[in-house]
């Protein structure tokens, strides 16, 4: 993807994003494209002015889930973490984009924590709606995974010149609505981004998609447009979400959106079933629908690549 035949491969593999065995999402100067995992791995690594780095996105582990099609979400989460450990390039860290647990129980959070510790990597969390179910509405999650965060658990950090913003859109949801960021968080986001150079690469992560994937199922965030307005001036913005347990992607202006697979169970494609919820696939197909996302940054070269791979791949 970094050399001369980039265009050809990009063109050929554009249609491969949904192939299911692994796809790579790249964007270069605001133009999004999809190429195959094999081609990405085969591309020669060129030396770049600053050292490239990778990080991994895990999502929707639903520790505690034990119904069809997955009687043991702990086991598949362990497999996902084993896959992270086996990556050829060791990631700098992991982000978990929420629904760590099924029911916000202490033992579920404990087990998720223990399994992730096996990776030996730092982990950055944000909550999903399943992590807000304790009597105090999210305190159990925050006490464990959200130390030093603000409000319902939002925060930002910098890593090798990239600014990471973790947003929470599962707190204080309004009747009849979808995901919600709220005025307080949006105000914080504005002050967090103010004064940053527009050339700073930005990665935003949140649980529910920050664009409307499917309103009938609540797959969107009511006030995301206000957040996206604040991000519009930046040259490179990547938005990573979970919640819908399948890969979707979209580019709008210079913002690239991507949702990750779950490590627990797949959900139907928008509108293809009476409702969202666990898709009861045959046991031999399950691991082909669960997976992880590996993100690669190559500073100075601009492409930000997201490689999705399944547990069966």
């Amino acid at each position: 993807m970094l050399d001369g035949d980039h265009e050809t491969r990009r063109h050929f593999l554009k249609c491969m994003a949904w192939a299911g065995t692994g796809a790579l999402f790249a964007f270069n100067a605001g133009v999004g494209s999809s190429i195959g995992l094999e081609s990405a791995l085969a591309a020669p690594v060129r030396s770049t002015p600053s050292k490239p780095f990778t990080f991994v996105q895990l999502s929707d582990s639903h520790i505690g889930f034990n119904k069809p099609p997955n009687s043991d979400a702990r086991a598949t989460f362990r497999e996902a973490v084993a896959k992270v450990k086996a990556l050829a390039v060791k990631p700098d860290f992991i982000i978990h984009t929420g629904d760590v647990s099924q029911l916000s129980r202490d033992d579920e959070f404990d087990d998720a924590d223990q399994i992730l510790k096996e990776s030996g990597l730092p982990v950055f969390y944000i909550p999903g709606e399943h992590d807000m179910l304790d009597p105090d509405g999210g305190k159990a999650f925050l006490n464990r995974f959200g130390k030093g965060t603000r409000g319902a658990g939002w925060y930002s950090f910098d890593h090798r010149g990239v600014h990471f913003v973790a947003l929470v859109n599962v707190a204080d949801l309004k009747p009849g609505g979808m995901g919600n960021l709220g005025a307080k968080q949006l105000k914080w986001l504005k002050s967090d981004l103010d004064g940053r150079s527009s050339s700073t690469p930005i990665v935003v992560f949140a649980h529910i998609p920050l664009w409307t994937v499917y309103a009938d199922w609540g797959w969107g965030t009511d006030d995301s447009a206000e957040a996206l307005k604040l991000l519009a001036r930046f040259g490179s913005v990547t938005v990573l979400n979970g919640h819908i347990h399948q890969i979707t992607q979209k580019v709008e202006g210079r913002i690239a959106f991507h949702t990750a697979r779950s490590t627990a169970f797949p959900q139907p494609a928008p509108g293809t079933a009476p409702s969202p919820g666990p898709l009861r696939v045959p046991a031999d197909q399950l691991r082909g629908l669960l997976g992880i996302t590996d993100a690669m940054f190559v500073r100075g070269q601009q492409p930000i690549a997201l490689v999705d791979s399944t547990l069966s791949a």
């Binding site: 119904k67 069809p68 099924q102 029911l103 916000s104 709606e129 399943h130 807000m132 179910l133 009597p135 949801l173 309004k174 009747p175 009849g176 609505g177 979808m178 309103a215 009938d216 199922w217 609540g218 009476p274 409702s275 969202p276 919820g277 666990p278």
Partner: protein, 117 residues
């Protein structure tokens, strides 16, 4: 009339009155045996979305989905804990009115209980 007899009469009257009151209450209780209504939660939907009941009715919601849900009144008058598959939540509507509610996990799921006097 002796003083002792007077007291006895008063006591008998009180006893008689309270007996009448108690039987009246028993009759009322029988007559107003609280109605019960069920609302199913299936496929991320409250069925039926609008349910009309008499005052004093107990409504029981049962989650039939493989995903947890909650039942939360918009005005805060009732709120279930999280309902996993097969779990139930009941609330008795003592006052007439319209009570909108939703699932706090999946807020696009909404319903209304209309309570008649």
């Amino acid at each position: 009339m002796t003083r002792a007899f007077k007291i006895l009469t008063v006591q008998a009257a009180v006893l008689a009155t309270s007996t009448v009151m108690m039987s009246a209450m028993a009759t009322m209780t029988r007559a107003a045996t609280p109605a019960a209504t069920a609302v199913r939660i299936d496929n991320f939907t409250f069925k039926d979305a609008v349910v009309t009941v008499k005052r004093g009715t107990t409504v029981t919601w049962t989650n039939g989905d493989d995903i947890p849900h909650t039942v939360v009144a918009k005005d805060g008058s009732f709120k279930s804990k999280v309902l996993d598959t097969g779990e139930r939540f009941s609330f008795t509507f003592a006052k007439p009115g319209q009570f909108g509610y939703y699932c706090s996990l999946h807020p696009h799921m909404t319903g209304t209980i209309v309570v008649k006097a």
